[in-house]
């Protein structure tokens, strides 16, 4: 978008307007930018730039940016279907406790220590839940979702309105998916999803190389558990889009299934967990292979 001196096109102008919104303008603008930054950060962390080591400094900076956004979202209180913008304080103002004291070398959270990883993961999945649901509740003054990630999520929801929450992430961590969208503990961790992707990728590297490896900064402590139980269900039990994918090769079948799970999970959150645990019949699941490819391209930022 900012490139080799080319003339800007109209949609870039709009986008630049969004990006350059001052923080104390409309909360919508701030929310949109925050969402964009969140999505970009996640994309960056999950992409693998080439064969050489991507660099620790960059990963640390992106992860810290992500954590700041998580802190903000956590500080704003309850997750999903809060009518926007109902938070008391104007969103442009940073919570006082997050300003760094001048004499402190390392940024501290309000509790005086770094965010424990377990809390971090709670919030990451929370963010992923938030994305589709917030995108469904369009902010009042904006009628166009400008960010590609959010729009892709919106597309997914449009296509799969009734898909329920997958059974994929049940029990192993002692968590079950209930229909209460406001309870953070009931939702599986993003890390589990990541480790799910990782474990599958270890099985078919070629097809799944786009997923890269989970950054070492973010744990996948459930990897072992996930490997031994969820893989089976992932590969063999899940046939939500069986009819459309049965003709594809083994590798792409795995890919499609994983993407499919991602899709289902996202949509599940988007629905606020209203559907029951059992998957609906295949007939209602209308995504075909082309759309899955499109989603994958968006997700990995190719």
């Amino acid at each position: 978008m900012l490139g080799k001196g080319l003339k800007r096109k109209l949609e870039q102008e709009e986008e630049n307007d969004v990006m350059s919104c001052p923080q104390d303008a409309s909360p919508t603008c701030y929310w949109l930018q925050r969402q964009t930054v969140l999505n970009l950060s996640l994309l960056k962390l999950h992409s693998r730039p080439g064969h050489s080591d991507p660099g620790l400094a960059r990963r640390v900076l992106i992860t810290n940016t992500l954590r700041h956004i998580q802190d903000e979202l956590r500080g704003e209180g309850g997750p999903i279907p809060q009518p926007f913008p109902s938070t008391g304080a104007p969103l442009g103002v940073v919570d006082g406790c997050r300003e760094r004291p001048a004499d402190c070398g390392v940024e501290v959270q309000s509790e005086g220590s770094l965010t424990p990883v377990s809390r971090l993961e709670e919030d990451r999945h929370l963010l992923l839940c938030l994305s589709p649901s917030i995108s469904r509740q369009q902010p009042p003054s904006s009628s166009v979702i400008k960010d590609s990630f959010t729009s892709a999520l919106a597309e997914i929801e449009d296509l799969c309105p009734t898909v329920g929450i997958t059974t994929l992430f049940t029990t192993e961590m002692g968590r079950s998916l209930t229909s209460d969208p406001n309870s953070r503990q009931t939702h599986p961790d993003l890390s589990e999803m990541n480790s799910g992707l990782d474990s599958v990728s270890s099985l078919s590297d070629s097809a799944l190389s786009v997923f890269g490896h989970t950054p070492s900064l973010l744990t996948d402590f459930s990897l072992d558990d996930f490997l031994f139980t969820e893989i089976d269900s992932l590969l063999f039990d899940n046939v939500p889009c069986g009819s459309s994918l049965s003709a594809s090769s083994g590798a792409s079948k795995v890919v499609s299934m994983v993407t499919d799970d991602l899709v289902k999970t996202l949509t599940g959150y988007g629905n606020g967990g209203t559907s029951q645990s059992a998957l609906p019949s295949n007939q209602t699941f209308k995504l075909d292979l082309n759309e899955l490819d499109h989603i994958m391209e968006v997700l990995v930022g190719s």
Partner: protein
């Protein structure tokens, strides 16, 4: 026309030379990754992404050419580092030269340190302009002579030959860095030097390659708790026990090696309190310091973060004494710059010989100079269009909004692929070297 920066009111910067290929297609390996003058300014070294080092030497000023100072011509070219493969991690180790630092000259030969991500090498560059002739045991072409045919002995004679410049690796300092080396710095004792990666700083003796002392280690026991990395480090120019290192959170720590073997605890801690009104999602990223340089006097140090250059007095830790905005117009574009990764670009900065001016690079092949005394600043461009010999450089201006005047360029027309990350200033004169992707520009002041 703005009065010049860097040396007085009659000062103008002029084009002197440009090195490198002209065509638009830039080979990745030719991208210059570091530029450094030696202590006298007679030699100028560049390193590139292909692992090569090219050294330019200034020709002696001849009495005939009064209008320009000596030009820099290629003196030596050699392959310093080769790509390697880390089998344990299945990752390539790039051959890109991250830093070159010269050693002070102690004899006829020149020595420099060059570092890629993992390995530092000490190179000796020496001249050979004589050749021995008249050996007894072998012919001129090197074949051994039959000993029974030797009837007389003669002493070999040194005969002049065409100048040959040889570069040979004298020391290889390897296997000491788990993370990517971002800095090397020669100590003022001329016996030791430090090398810094993302999490550790090591102290080496120039003669000893099989071990180094770890003097800073910020790696946490649990890597998930890592929130800050080391971004640059430098030895004090006069006090051989003092060094500084900067971090990704915009802080600088000054350490004294006499205090403890492990300098995890700093002697001084430099940080400017954050301005809450300018806080954004990118505040931390743009506060990350990409370069730190002591002034020649040793009283000040300069840090470069994404949008500004700051000069710190070593005696004052709570804020810099001077702050210069490099390209503040980018503040509203940070989200886009985050998307295209430009926000992670690491710009360097440098002092002039008298510490009265500082220079740093920007985008669109612009570079900026700030005069500390007059508080004037100037933006210049390194481009082939201004490359007539001794052509004066015209100041450039970026239009930030509203009506664009003639000769101004608007923010959205800037080419973010043309970035000037590496610049160097001659230690004594007003001659600067600016690396623009694969081209090296040399500018000097107009000699009146």
């Amino acid at each position: 026309m703005m009065a010049g920066v860097g040396g007085g009111n009659d000062f103008q910067w002029c084009f002197s030379q440009v090195k490198g290929a002209i065509d638009e297609d830039v080979a990745e390996a030719d991208i210059i990754s570091t530029v450094e003058f030696n202590y006298s300014g007679e030699l100028l070294a560049t390193g590139d992404k292909g692992g090569r080092v090219v050294i330019f030497q200034r020709e002696q000023e001849s009495k005939n050419r009064l209008l320009s100072r000596g030009e820099y011509n290629v003196y030596s070219t050699f392959q310093s580092h080769e790509p390697e493969f880390d089998y344990l991690k299945s990752l390539e180790i790039e051959e890109k030269i991250n830093k070159i630092r010269w050693l002070p000259q102690q004899n006829a030969a020149h020595f420099l340190l060059s570092a890629n991500d993992k390995t530092i090498k000490l190179w000796k560059i020496s001249e050979r302009d004589k050749r021995a002739e008249g050996y007894n045991l072998k012919d001129e072409d090197g074949r051994l002579r039959d000993p029974f045919r030797i009837t007389t002995l003669r002493v070999p004679v040194l005969m002049p030959m065409d100048l040959m410049v040889e570069a040979s690796p004298r020391r290889i300092f390897a296997n000491a860095h788990t993370y990517h080396i971002n800095s090397i710095s020669v100590n003022s004792d001329y016996e030791t030097y430090l090398s810094a990666d993302d999490l550790r700083i090591n102290l080496w003796h120039l003669e000893i390659t099989d071990r180094s002392f770890n003097i800073v280690d910020i790696k946490p026991a649990n890597m998930e708790e890592l929130t800050e990395v080391i971004t640059a480090a430098e030895c004090h120019p006069h006090q051989c026990n003092v060094f500084v290192y900067s971090s990704s959170k915009g802080t600088i720590r000054l350490c004294d090696m006499r205090a403890a073997a492990l300098c995890d605890r700093h002697s001084k801690f430099f940080e400017e309190p954050e301005d809450p009104s300018s806080r954004s999602f990118f505040s931390e990223i743009i506060s990350s310091i990409s370069d730190v340089k002591f002034s020649h006097s040793g009283r000040y140090m300069m840090t470069r973060d994404y949008l500004s250059v700051k000069v710190w007095d070593l005696n004052m830790e709570n804020r810099p004494v001077e702050t210069y905005q490099v390209h503040e117009y980018l503040r509203s574009k940070l989200c886009s710059l985050y998307e295209n990764d430009c926000i992670f670009d690491k710009f360097e900065c440098c002092w002039n010989g008298s510490d009265s001016a500082i220079m740093t690079g920007s985008y669109n092949n612009f570079f900026r100079m700030f005069d500390r005394n007059t508080r004037r600043d100037i933006t210049l461009e390194a481009s082939r269009e201004n490359s007539k010999p001794r052509a004066m450089l015209k100041p450039r201006k970026v239009c930030t909004g509203g009506k664009r005047k003639k000769d101004e360029i608007s923010v959205d027309s800037l080419d973010f692929n043309k970035k000037i990350l590496h610049t160097a200033w001659h230690p004594k004169e007003n001659v600067i070297a600016v690396a623009a992707t694969n081209n090296l520009y040399i500018f000097q002041d107009k000699v009146n």
